[in-house]
Symmetry: C2
Subunit: 365 residues, 2 copies
């Protein structure tokens, strides 16, 4: 296909002029410009953006590296990143399924020269040194950073507080035996949620019964499988907090098949506030996480970082995670409590997600 050289030749000008016509940063004679555009159109000339990138050292592309792509959460994060990137005319070079830091390293290398910045969710703490090596070449924004790691820009969810709030709410409803279904081992978000769970119990003057901390992996089946453990434990827990909604949903299904009523016999709370949470029966009490906003914030942070002077301090942003009370935890008291199946009147969709708003309440520390 036509290159800038062929266009120049056909238009009877130099390649510099053609370049100028397209980049409109230098004045160029309207007539010649017209002619160049004409020729370019006829030849269907498309500039080679790889070459542009090499020459300008600017690719208008962000690298995005995630450990996984399962579930709505990551999907929403990507959507947020893509949305905001799009606004600023950036593209996304995606790479996921990084189980270890080796993967992160090789993927980063493959991205070198093709991105202006990297938005990275590191798989484990060992990624630390690799992050350092990457940072020397390209700006990095960390997603769900580990606390100890680095002085790097980052955006995270306030998992700890969200979880604490959720469990505190259960406690306030009178629950003494609360079980927890964990996320995959090594997952930062999941670990913080567990920490929040413990903290809430501690603050309630109870200590955690370790037998009630049931290992999970964020998938529905883990929640489903956790059911037996929960019901067979003695004394039987009256509430369960799942580290994410998928597992909460799996658990709900299992409980219902056992003839266990939710929330009457056992209360269930999830985390994430996935799209369908409000449409379940019973509707799922959960902690709202604006995954899409997380992605958008990451991009904004990146853009700021890129135009900041190298020495400036790292910005650490935390997106609030707030409890969204619905029916699965048992209505606290008044509110619009009951309703549910049976009432013909309660047709209010119980809007399952509180949109964008929350995103910008991110706290900077």
């Amino acid at each position: 296909m036509a290159t800038i050289r062929e266009v120049a030749l056909a238009a009877g000008v130099s390649i510099a002029t053609v370049s100028r016509v397209f980049n409109k940063n230098t004045p160029v004679n309207p007539d010649t410009a017209e002619r160049v555009l004409q020729v370019a159109g006829r030849l269907d000339y498309w500039p080679n953006s790889a070459a542009q990138g090499l020459a300008t050292r600017c690719t208008r592309t962000f690298g995005v590296m995630l450990p996984d792509l399962f579930g709505e959460f990551y999907s929403d994060v990507i959507r947020g990143i893509d949305q905001q990137a799009r606004v600023h005319q950036y593209q996304i070079l995606l790479s996921s399924s990084h189980s270890n830091s080796e993967d992160v390293l090789s993927a980063s290398r493959a991205m070198l020269g093709r991105i202006d910045g990297l938005i990275l969710m590191a798989p484990d703490e060992s990624s630390h040194e690799i992050v350092e090596r990457v940072r020397r070449r390209v700006p990095v924004v960390l997603l769900s950073p580990r606390t100890r790691v680095d002085d790097c820009h980052s955006v995270g969810i306030d998992n700890f507080c969200g979880a604490k709030e959720a469990v505190a709410h259960l406690v306030s409803l009178g629950h003494r035996q609360v079980a927890f279904i964990t996320g995959p081992e090594g997952n930062v978000d999941a670990e913080e949620r567990l920490r929040g769970f413990r903290q809430a119990l501690t603050e309630a003057g109870r200590d955690t019964d370790e037998a009630l901390v049931i290992p999970g992996d964020f998938h529905e089946s883990a929640g489903f499988d956790a059911c037996s453990t929960i019901l067979e434990h003695s004394p039987r827990p009256t509430a369960v907090f799942a580290a994410n909604d998928s597992m909460a949903i799996g658990l709900l299904a299992a409980l219902q098949r056992r003839g266990c009523r939710v929330p009457e016999d056992i209360a269930v709370v999830g985390f994430d506030n996935v799209a369908i949470a409000g449409y379940l029966n019973p509707s799922l009490t959960t902690v709202n996480v604006d995954a899409c906003g997380l992605g958008r914030q990451a991009v904004d942070l990146m853009l700021n970082a890129m135009e900041a002077k190298p020495g400036s301090d790292p910005v650490r942003q935390v997106i609030p995670a707030v409890l969204k009370v619905r029916r699965s935890c048992g209505a606290p008291s008044g509110a619009d409590g009951e309703s549910g199946a049976g009432s013909v009147l309660s047709m209010s969709p119980d809007f399952p997600r509180q949109e964008p708003k929350a995103a910008n309440r991110g706290l900077t520390s």
Copy 2:
């Protein structure tokens, strides 16, 4: 950071040698190789892949363009693409939210020179000519192609048959009044599902009551909102087929709040077989779509296309969509039918997804 030149200088060799050491395609003296690697390591040299791409005209990257990123479907498609691409050491340059062909055009241009192939889900039929322009520069694989479009490689879901099968099943259960909740206007998959719906009714000797074709948009709320229309129609439909699971779930919620029992009072069938479908109450009868497999197939097709000679015929692949009968449509007869809430015994997880298998049954035409 260090470039190949600096490594060459520090190692006392030419840049050509350094290049050879890294690409191991030309024999090089073990000693000098050793020395080069040493120096490269010390300088932490990473080859610039943009420059490599320019020189080799090979980027090991696939462009992926989707109209949207909402919901599990697209997310799974991306996951499939990423998975398979990863296997072959390719990366993904992602771009979504293309509502019209203008967007597709500009995004394609921005990708030129940075991808070896483009996996494209076109937003509308007007993209036809643009696809042609793109194809002249880079191999293209179409996702969910419109039938009329081009002689281009493509992978699609067999929406028509899947939908027909679903509705035929409802008809076989005795349902005469069946409603349909459509997908977003212009969406190929959604339109094919509608076509399958109509066809099934036609084959059953009934014609479609257009008032029962209710506009939707693939979101939960559309299903929720469709409830009124459905219940108020007379004669009242005894079954509803939603163009995707999200809407089916929204509908289930609305029906339950109205005190309408599913499947006793009204049967519901969805499309997609999302992860939670089997965990709902009642579990959702739906049409299984291997979105992840779709993505993988697209990559495989692309790889084949790239090593095929330019003149060869386009490959059109269709991934089967098969009905997955669960409880929401009413058990046909025997089977493990009833159970549901109440039975303590039925703890079989009702595996919600039939994994990979189906993907490779893709039919080539």
